[in-house]
Symmetry: C2
Subunit: 353 residues, 2 copies
């Protein structure tokens, strides 16, 4: 006796009332189909597969869609296809201006190519980063990791799942965007040498930072080439505060010029030295890295080795999007140039007054 009640009256509506619009929710392809007098699947094709339907039908459908003010439901699309037109960007610290331009570069490229950017922060922690990455993975088509703290293996594991692009670090087998530090560092060190400096310090960044290691290598090599003595100092954290803290060590080291892992350290260091009555650049030259927002706010404005951060962001996004659109498997490293931005914080050493 299963007689299931017969929910729909047989004669009343030709089509089942399955996709009846009550005027409340958004229009669907079924509504368009009804208006245009075609099958829903034809609507779907017209809207997503250019050239699959005749120009006539196409127009019919587009008009109906425009009339109803139709917008695709991204979830309904994502469910069967897995495509979301979305990608994630994970940065170590949202308030670190280094990432501002990266974010903007990525966002601009995303919007330009009709993608949406999802942003997450790892708070400089490897585990938070991995958690965030895993969480995002479920909802995006691909992922950009900016200065990741996670180890190479985990990054490769993520990359096996969906396309991943890394900024500011090289990971074997994963496409990367990396500023080539050597040119900028070479210019910086030669400039210091030309101004009579003979001993320079490099203030390093976080120990896990791949980029910090590269910069120190670059500085050491360039100094060797220019016959300068180079010493390496450690910082507690790559921030303005960290820069202030390292000032003691800098003074103790007896150098006349300092390169720091990033601009924040340079700014903090300069503030602390000036507070101690040391004149920059007359008594000590300071050179930062990245040319972040605000690097020219200081007095004297900061000399720095510029990384084209916006370019890194948009380059990474482009790489990722190309990857998503089937452009094979480049997996190479995109290298962008660095250059010295000579401002007031570096220069000739004045004879001690």
């Amino acid at each position: 006796m299963t007689e299931p009640k017969k929910p729909d009256a047989p004669a009343a509506t030709g089509r089942a009332n399955k996709h009846a619009r009550d005027g409340k929710s958004n229009p669907t392809i079924y509504d368009i189909a009804k208006v245009a007098g075609v099958n829903p699947s034809t609507v779907s094709r017209a809207l997503s597969k250019p050239g699959r339907v005749s120009a006539k039908t196409q127009k019919l459908i587009e008009d109906a869609a425009a009339e109803l003010n139709y917008q695709v439901n991204p979830f309904a699309r994502a469910l069967p296809t897995g495509r979301t037109n979305t990608f994630g960007l994970i940065v170590a610290d949202i308030t670190n201006p280094t990432f501002f331009d990266i974010i903007r570069g990525a966002e601009t490229t995303a919007t330009l190519r009709d993608y949406t950017l999802v942003l997450a922060e790892s708070a400089e922690s490897a585990v938070t980063e991995l958690t965030a990455a895993r969480r995002l993975m479920a909802t995006v088509d691909g992922l950009i990791l900016a200065s990741p703290r996670t180890d190479d293996d985990n990054i490769r594991a993520l990359a096996r799942d969906k396309p991943v692009v890394v900024i500011n670090r090289e990971v074997e087998g994963v496409p990367c965007v990396v500023p080539d530090v050597n040119k900028g560092i070479g210019e910086a060190v030669r400039s210091l040498a030309a101004n009579g400096h003979t001993k320079v310090a490099f203030v390093a960044g976080p120990p896990q930072s791949w980029m910090s290691a590269r910069r120190w290598e670059g500085v050491r090599a360039a100094c060797e080439w220019s016959r300068l003595e180079a010493v390496r100092l450690d910082s507690t954290k790559p921030t303005v505060d960290g820069g202030r803290q390292v000032a003691r060590d800098v003074r103790a080291s007896g150098v006349t010029a300092v390169l720091t892992y990033n601009d924040l350290l340079a700014i903090g260091l300069m503030q602390e030295l000036q507070a101690a009555g040391i004149v920059v650049p007359d008594q000590i030259s300071i050179v930062g890295f990245d040319d972040i927002f605000g690097a020219d706010f200081t007095t004297p404005p900061l000399t720095t080795v510029r990384s084209p951060l916006g370019e890194c962001g948009s380059g990474a996004a482009t790489l990722l999007l190309d990857l998503l659109h089937g452009m094979g498997e480049p997996a190479g490293t995109l290298r962008v140039e660095t250059e010295l931005v000579l401002r007031g914080s570096s220069g000739r050493l004045l004879p001690a007054g």
Copy 2:
């Protein structure tokens, strides 16, 4: 010989092979159901409706889920429910540091409450903003607009669709988070008056900016109260560059103190004045707004009326999330305090040398 053709032997599998796992894609509730020996809908209930199933079944299902390393498919969930555990944040300009802290505040709160933040930029354009807002609306549960350029009606229209919270502007009928400028402005103007200034200028921001209008009102009122003369100058854009450009007008106006719509204008203005040989604050005092990152990098460091931007971001997110979780319809305005941060760029006027 296990007969590799015959995809489904009639007797072998009780259920149809509809939700058979091929080991490639992610596990679904159907897999869990099979492992736990219950119906898929029971799994769904166990995982989303606490208390709906018996503790015994609950445990069974949770174990199976853990074993299979199950993660819900957000799209499959979003499709029938409309819930996405995601909200959008639209800012006028990603590289404007004013928004950094707002973004961070919102992001932190989002993550804390298990939401994902989607970021979009309007490039200071009302139409881009509306486009971005409409686009995001489809994929998020709610929206935060930071310093929107769109007009009130459009914002209310958005708010009819899904919960919307506005930062840095008041829109009737829409919940807002607004720094109350009067306290900070009062402190600033009194400080200027106490230092002997008699005529001050306010450099305004974008004409559509609600906040710029409030600040000018506040400045005018405070000046009146302190019996100072106040003049209003216009800027071309609310950036460092805009600040440089307005320097001419500032000098021509004959004031001895300037408040600017934001810190970027103040910084640009100060740079330009200093480049012209004017000493800050001896010859002119400068006061910014917001206390953005880098406001203390300048020499002299910038005096500014601080808005608790991080608090705005997290406050807006909290408001939105509460709204989403059914806490009625507060729709009120959350006011946060501003305060004067006295640094070196303002002070006593020195007699002209």
